[in-house]
Symmetry: C2
Subunit: 503 residues, 2 copies
């Protein structure tokens, strides 16, 4: 695999890092280093760590056209387990990439297909299909938008949906030649577990993206930032992140209420699953057409207002994306310092104290014990501090980083979602010209104005959903982070007293 | 000034350090960087910081023979103020060097003389003068050694001598062309202050070294590790270190009781000072002859026992010297990390939180205030932590480093002192051969055996003095250090709660 460098990165010398320049192409040596780092090699043969955010990983073995992918349970042979999990995030120069899949065991494969960065070949869906289309009669799947205290909001269910992803189990097929992991997913509505493999989650993601992507940013599945080197750790980490992804989907009133999502959570047997799948794959109300199911109970918005709101959301998500990446970046650096140089330095201080204690013990002078005990205790305390400092990131930074990573992924989807709206605004602005050219009627122009207003209500509802989730998530993560930090300083301080008590 | 590299040092990249190899010669750019670092430039023109312990600084302008230096108050012109303070420490590859002296003001000088590393030209005093000399009749200045619980000990005074060095005042002479600093020294015996310039301390050091150096390690004056860049800071630092040096001398029963030390502390007028000085400079009982004044009330020691003890002390002081230097080294590195990269990193984390808070503030969503306040508070707390972390070394490491620096200086004197004993053992071991060759009589041989036993009691008394002081000093410094460390973690933890209280 190779990667395109998307930002300049200057290596901190002595930290096994690699300086790279924007536009450079590097070879990926190890994508599973962890902590948000990738080991890469440049054209001069130098190798070292580069933050994964700075690289756009792609497959450089051979390039094939992107073929839409289906989850066909009867044709597992074509999509080899090790390669069917790759997913792109898109957005602001996001990292995309392949990664080692579920089956790292004795799975052998005779051929492989490579799923490429989808967004490299796709374009933002054309909103014209909705703006000018003759709409089908209103069906039952209407998406309601109400005016809440904060403005337009989706209709939220009385009791929120939730689910638990647990109990990963290894399965195999084709006489043990192919192995996979199956997760148990239990929704709080039925309380009845259903089993899903990663590829089913992936299929769900594809459906949600296709159906709602123009109106709702659908975050990609967590499959890139894999920090576990070993299979068990990997499975655990993936499960935790699938849980996080499912939670976020459950919390979304539109997504959680959709047929395809309900199917995924509540199918009762293989037959129901297969039938539901076929129906979902044949759904024609996808892409910008999803707006045709939206009914805002509010007056039509002026195009200028629409544009302003769109601009505001675009700017906010871009700026938040920058802020989140900045935090992830310093977080990564701090993580590395704590587990690397700082740990070693405290160890050295500890050793220096203990060495001095050993030397003092050889003095042959009486009445030395109190001092040498104290020096040894201080030395050991420093070695403990070294441990505590090195382990601390896993306790506090981890959750902060995971949440921000999740938001990085989510924010990476906004440009595409907002892009549909911007393209629609463009189209509506051309309305007069199009009428003059005889391409559309005056009535069409009126329809477009009405529909872009509907789109804008949808975007506002989605932004309000995003904001309320964001406030909830960041409140929670900051509280946990600060509590852990306090606990950290208390632990170290406590450790010190152990060293001091002997005085 | 240039410097010889005495140990390999690998620069930590990105920290403005310079990699140097043992034996290399570098140019000293700035000796007053502080924190135990010297800014140096290698022959390839690269420059950076090197720990001062790794360099042996010398003057490379021109080399003159070492001329014994006298403190002649009437001849200030010859020893220019800016250059008369340099002193060497000797010992295990000690840093020696010149430094900017007291008068950094408007002092101009037309010529300068350079005092060189004395030990580069001196040899260890020949103990033969004592071992074989016909001794003068026993005078009144006898040095008593008793058998204490820990073995041979010096006779300690009932109430220990102490003094306060304070109130540095700038004086000038030669119509203001030359300026100097005068310190007030007040002993607890007379409680009457006397005034001394640095050069007088230096004169005292020279006398003590000359008189007692063979039996007692006399630490050099604190004039090398000058961390203050500004005159006031420099004067304050020098005063504190002169105070430390005087305290150590006061605590020594032999030194504190000597005529020359008493003269320094208690002279009543210029005449008494000058008369006393002349007498001290004419003292003939110096070097190894000091052993002739020692009266141990104990049975004669076997040469094998003498040699074993000498070896033990030699090994102990060498190993402690290594341990102390190791601690100073990691201490320096830690100091630099706290005030450098760590400070910056906490600042960046603080800024990242605050940036995110600013972005969130632009959301236009209501009910954001609690979160943005908390993020801002967390960000500010991190900036405070950055400050606390950067200032911490001055609070705790400082005293630990100062004490260890003092011991580094003291331990650096042991090789010379122990060297006299080793040379004497060598001489006594040759006794039979010398008798056979007719160089000495059998009676002489007996005298030598008796005298080396006396020397050994003296060395034991001195080692016991060293050990008891060492235990006292290190107990004290460790306690203070750990207390400050606890206070540090409590402060940071307290700071956190400020950030958290808003939740």
């Amino acid at each position: 695999m190779c990667a395109q460098v998307i930002y300049d990165f200057s290596a901190e010398p002595g930290n096994n890092e690699l300086t790279v320049r924007e536009g450079e192409t590097v070879t990926v040596l190890n994508q599973n280093v962890g902590g948000g780092w990738i080991e890469a090699q440049n054209s001069r043969g130098e190798s070292g760590l580069v933050p994964e955010d700075y690289l756009q990983v792609s497959v450089c073995l051979f390039i094939t056209d992107y073929t839409p992918k289906q989850c066909d349970d009867d044709d597992d042979g074509e999509w080899d387990e090790e390669w069917d999990d790759a997913r792109s995030t898109g957005g602001y120069g996001e990292t995309t990439g392949e990664e080692e899949g579920e089956a790292t065991g004795r799975n052998t494969h005779t051929h492989m297909k490579i799923s490429l960065n989808k967004f490299a070949f796709s374009k933002i869906p054309n909103p014209e299909v909705y703006l000018l289309a003759k709409l089908p009669p209103k069906g039952k799947d209407r998406l309601a938008i109400y005016m809440g205290d904060v403005g337009p909001v989706w209709l939220y269910p009385q009791s929120p949906l939730d689910c638990v992803v647990a109990d990963p189990k290894k399965g195999s097929k084709m006489y043990g030649l192919k192995s996979y992991i199956e997760y148990q997913v239990t929704p709080n509505t039925t309380n009845r577990p259903v089993n899903h493999r990663y590829k089913h989650f992936d299929w769900l993601y594809e459906r949600l993206l296709e159906k709602f992507g123009s109106a709702i940013p659908i975050p990609s599945l967590p499959d890139k930032q894999v920090t576990g080197r070993f299979e068990e750790e990997f499975i655990k980490m993936r499960m935790e992140r699938l849980q996080g992804w499912m939670c976020r989907m459950c919390r979304h009133p539109v997504v959680s209420n959709s047929d395809v999502f309900q199917l995924f959570l509540t199918y009762r047997d293989e037959k129901e699953w297969k039938t539901g799948k076929r129906r979902a794959e044949k759904d024609e109300c996808v892409g910008p057409m999803v707006f045709s199911t939206i009914d805002p109970e509010a007056p039509e918005l002026d195009i200028i207002e629409v544009e302003q709101k769109c601009e505001l959301f675009s700017r906010f998500t871009k700026e938040m994306d920058d802020g989140v990446k900045d935090l992830l970046n310093v977080g990564n650096i701090h993580w590395k310092r704590c587990t690397g140089p700082l740990r070693k330095e405290y160890q050295k201080i500890g050793k220096a104290f203990q060495n001095l204690s050993s030397v003092f013990n050889t003095s042959g002078y009486t009445g030395e014990a109190t001092l040498t005990d104290a020096l040894t205790a201080a030395g050991k305390t420093y070695e403990e501090i070294s441990q505590i400092v090195a382990e601390q990131p896993r306790k506090d930074l981890h959750f902060l980083m995971e949440t921000n990573n999740e938001y990085k992924g989510l924010l990476g989807c906004f440009p595409d979602t907002i892009g549909v709206h911007k393209a629609a605004i463009e189209k509506v602005r051309e309305g007069d010209k199009m009428v003059a050219a005889g391409k559309i009627t005056t009535q069409d122009k009126g329809t477009m104005a009405k529909r872009i207003s509907i789109m804008c209500y949808s975007l506002q509802a989605e932004m309000n959903h995003f904001h309320s989730n964001r406030i909830y998530d960041y409140n929670r993560v900051m509280q946990l982070y600060l509590e852990e930090q306090i606990r950290f300083y208390e632990t170290v301080r406590g450790g010190k007293r152990v060293g001091s008590i002997k005085w």
